[in-house]
Symmetry: C2
Subunit: 195 residues, 2 copies
């Protein structure tokens, strides 16, 4: 019986594939350096171990998003230089201009990463990203609230869970609105950081 191949899953957007692609979009690098930059620039957002970094790079290469080349170094273990392929670039750009659902974690992790790369690579995308994310959250809140009315009243904890999610999304909305204002006025987000 022929086993159906899963057609290269879209890969949970909460895996650090995209930050790695983003770092490679800025410049080619080898794994060790990528890991360092990731920890440096995004250490409070993502944690991945060094070996996990290599795992992901291997997968990205297998998928054709990046291409690696061995580089001999004298007096040093040889290392593998990676660069983004056209396909990987394409994939990254699509990701960069997309919107996450309304999970607070996804916003904190994925959206923030996206915002960082947008700011550094395509700043013109920033206002649209903020706007669409706000719309997305608003409609998410709506869905949660209408979902809540459909739950039977005896499912107390299911209802509490939905309620909690709504109460988590509200401050996200405020935060995004502040980001919008800061970007419009200053072209950066420093204001958010210094009250």
């Amino acid at each position: 019986m022929m086993m159906m191949m899963t057609p290269t899953k879209p890969a949970s957007n909460l895996s650090p594939e995209y930050p790695l692609l983003g770092l490679l979009a800025q410049k080619p690098a080898h794994g060790y350096e990528l890991h360092q930059r990731l920890m440096q620039d995004f250490g409070q957002i993502w944690y991945i171990s060094l070996s996990q970094t290599y795992n992901i790079l291997k997968r990205l290469e297998k998928q054709g998003a990046i291409a690696g080349e061995d580089e001999q170094q004298e007096n040093r273990p040889s290392r593998r230089f990676f660069r983004l392929t056209a396909e990987g670039r394409q994939r990254f750009e699509v990701w960069l201009d997309s919107t996450v659902g309304c999970s607070t974690r996804a916003i904190r992790v994925e959206f923030l990463t996206r915002l960082a790369f947008a700011e550094s690579i395509h700043p013109e995308l920033v206002p649209g990203l903020l706007e669409r994310q706000i719309v997305e959250i608003r409609s998410g809140i709506g869905r949660l609230e209408s979902g809540m009315t459909k739950l039977p009243p005896e499912q107390v904890y299911n209802r509490l869970a939905l309620k909690l999610r709504v109460r988590q999304l509200a401050p996200m909305l405020d935060w995004l609105t502040e980001c919008q204002a800061a970007w419009r006025e200053d072209g950066n987000f420093n204001k958010i950081l210094s009250p």
Copy 2:
């Protein structure tokens, strides 16, 4: 070279092992039924597929937390009945009276589940759970804020991430305080649900 065995990892508390143990603490059941009850009572909190349910049951049995017995049924595929072992009971009780860290997801998912089982099995634990969780979050906010001052100012997105986490934890604190009040007054959480 002898490979060191990893000594049965404590298993991320965000895996649905504990809700399954909890359901089995209420009464013995077979996998299919457990899955149904899980989706019924906690469908807005956990999603696990049927096969994942079986995976976890298999692991729990291997670990000795539950014991399964095959049960022949006439005119039916035979099924496997699981019950909690003493060891599993012990493990569940320890979990039931413990505290999650201050990740908002962990609170929504794990804490809420814990609260549900505490209410149904050991209601006397509820006030302590709420109180300790509040303390935990307060100290978490403190840690995040002090962490923020230690980050170099150029790490804008790392700082934004910490800030966001703080702004997510504040409403959790309010919510827990409301829960405390509701429990003190009514012995349930209905008030939280009807604004």
